[in-house]
């Protein structure tokens, strides 16, 4: 048998490739080459048309738009003549530059909603996340926009917009984008399939208007039950329309969640990536400013907390709202002045000894203070028993007031 195998291998190795097969290879190769080149031309053409139709304000958005992935459609030819393969969708997803999607959870009416824009090389340009309260009850509902390494988070229930650039925080926000990236989801399925850890069933309807149904059954690590992802793929674009996830328990399907990919490569209005038209009274806190808070230097944490509290109230007494705002974590002077309309800080009565903040989760200090305040023509001494002070996020050497007063 061994010699037979070697003989067969040697025989195969010495056989010339028939001219017909060489021509076939060249034809396939030429078709592929044409399809990638055609995609580039189509992209350029559509971009030009879009720019011609767009006003100046829309140029930035137009420049980021690329047409749907023709690559797979052109190369593989119309479905029906060739059986569908997951690779086709993966190839189509490589040319996605904008995406609008929803993520639904069991027993929740309101979905999370994401808008994502990438550049030609696939790098993230802009992200907007709509996060309902159920995602994080402590935060309440949030709107998040991200651009150039900086995120603005609008805590709707708290009436605050916070700008952050701390890498960890940004990574947490963008993790959601990565988790729901259809390309990654598909690559994962293909990896599971290659490793023999998933069963993949593909149903391709003859009616081209109906989506291809791909059912993937596998086990998550450490999970006894089978998980089933049902993916619907558009036959014309080969792009993923939706994924529904179920847990299979005793023959029953339990709904775990769903992603709906609402549009690919459609222009996203640039205003989606800007938090404006906010309700009156919303506070803006910019934690990326380098002058937020005070530098701690050689002081102990307790001394530092007391110093920040003292300088904060001194600034209010001096009506230096810009400084007071900087000491309040980056709040703008105008916003602080508006907040304090009708109130005048007359003098500091006392700045007490700082102690650990009563809410340990804040990891801050509490400074008890008393201030003489004039309001509606009346002057009184107002206690601030728990003025919170702690290091600024992303700038651990600088300390600022947090949590209102």
């Amino acid at each position: 048998m061994s010699k037979d195998i070697e003989k067969i291998l040697n025989q195969l190795g010495s056989e010339p490739v028939p001219a017909e097969i060489q021509r076939l290879a060249e034809g396939v190769s030429m078709r592929f080459q044409k399809s990638v080149s055609h995609k580039q031309k189509t992209t350029a053409l559509n971009l030009w048309e879009m720019i011609m139709r767009s006003g100046i304000a829309k140029l930035a958005a137009a420049a980021a738009i690329v047409v749907v992935g023709l690559l797979a459609v052109l190369f593989w030819g119309p479905l029906g003549s060739t059986a569908y393969a997951l690779e086709q969708t993966l190839a189509a997803l490589h040319s996605v530059r904008t995406l609008h999607m929803k993520d639904l959870a069991p027993d929740q009416d309101e979905p999370k909603e994401f808008w994502i824009e990438c550049d030609e090389a696939g790098n993230l340009l802009n992200v907007r996340l709509h996060m309902p309260a159920w995602d994080s009850p402590a935060d309440g509902p949030k709107e998040v926009v991200w651009h150039s390494g900086k995120a603005e988070v609008w805590f709707k229930a708290k009436g605050v917009v916070v700008t952050v650039n701390e890498k960890d925080k940004i990574a947490q926000l963008l993790e959601m984008v990565v988790v729901f990236d259809p390309k990654r989801a598909l690559e994962r399925v293909m990896r599971l399939q290659e490793e023999g850890r998933a069963q993949v069933q593909i149903e391709q309807p003859s009616n081209k208007a109906d989506p291809i149904k791909v059912t993937v059954t596998y086990k998550d690590k450490g999970d006894q039950d089978d998980i089933q992802d049902v993916m619907m793929i558009n036959q014309a674009t080969l792009l993923l329309e939706s994924t529904h996830r179920y847990r299979l328990v005793n023959g029953q399907s339990q709904f775990l969640g769903a992603d709906e990919f609402l549009s690919y490569n459609q222009p996203i209005d640039p205003s989606m990536f800007v938090l404006d038209n906010l309700p009156a009274g919303v506070m803006r806190v910019d934690m990326t400013r380098q002058d937020v808070g005070l530098a701690r230097g050689d002081l102990t944490e307790q001394e530092m907390a007391e110093k920040v509290a003292k300088e904060f109230f001194e600034a209010l007494v001096a009506e230096d709202y810009d400084k007071a705002g900087r000491l309040m974590g980056g709040l703008t002077g105008d916003a602080l002045k508006t907040m304090l309309t009708g109130k005048k800080f007359m003098r500091i009565v006392s700045i007490g000894k700082a102690g650990p903040h009563p809410n340990p989760a804040t990891q801050g200090w509490a400074v008890p203070c008393e201030v003489e305040l004039q309001k509606d023509g009346q002057t009184s001494v107002v206690p601030f028993p728990v003025l919170g002070v702690r290091p600024v996020q992303g700038q651990p050497d600088r300390w600022a007031v947090f949590g209102g007063f």
Binding site: M1, S2, D4, I5, E6, I8, L9, N10, L12, G13, S14, E15, V17, P18, E20, I21, Q22, L24, A25, E26, V28, S29, F32, Q33, V36, S37, Q40, T43, F75, W76, A83, A85, E87, L90, A91, H94, E120, A121
Partner: protein
């Protein structure tokens, strides 16, 4: 990598390796339809991983992509209806011998598609590509002794798999 650069690298690498890939895939598939499918997968793989093909390790990646494409094409074929493909070889044997030989050749091909990566690369380079061991070692990034070992293990695996069938 910019799109235009992707096209540039892809075109260069594809032109450089098209003959090699054609020969390897034809010898591994022996069937026009299967070959075409494997060739499509190979080109798609080259396009997807074009960044990796722009350097010294390109030959090793090319083999990897082509062998993976061959395995996928075989899996699709066997997965669809389990039929064996008709063998193209028509050599100077009696009809009975020819049928038996054809079946064996098809089995060898299917078995190569299921070998571990380094073994399949080594045996394809050694027998189908008729390469010397030092060249196989360079492509795989291992010693000559290791490349011989991969070939030996591949032959043993093929023997064992064919025996099981």
């Amino acid at each position: 990598m910019e799109y235009s650069r992707r096209i540039e690298v892809f075109t260069r690498v594809k032109d450089q390796y098209l003959q090699l890939v054609t020969a390897v895939l034809w010898k591994l598939t022996g069937d026009r339809q299967l070959f075409e499918e494997a060739m499509q997968y190979t080109l798609m793989g080259m396009w997807q991983h074009v960044e990796k093909l722009d350097g010294d390790k390109a030959p090793s990646y090319i083999y990897r992509i082509a062998l993976s494409a061959n395995s996928k094409a075989w899996r699709n074929r066997v997965g669809k209806n389990g039929d064996q493909i008709p063998e193209r070889a028509a050599v100077d044997k009696s009809p009975e011998d020819r049928a038996g030989q054809a079946e064996l050749v098809a089995k060898v091909r299917r078995a190569i598609a299921r070998l571990p990566e380094n073994q399949s690369k080594a045996i394809v380079m050694r027998y189908l590509g008729q390469r010397e061991y030092d060249e196989i070692a360079r492509t795989l990034g291992c010693s000559e002794v290791a490349s011989r070992s991969h070939v030996c293990k591949a032959l043993a695996s093929l023997r064992s798999r064919l025996h099981e069938e």
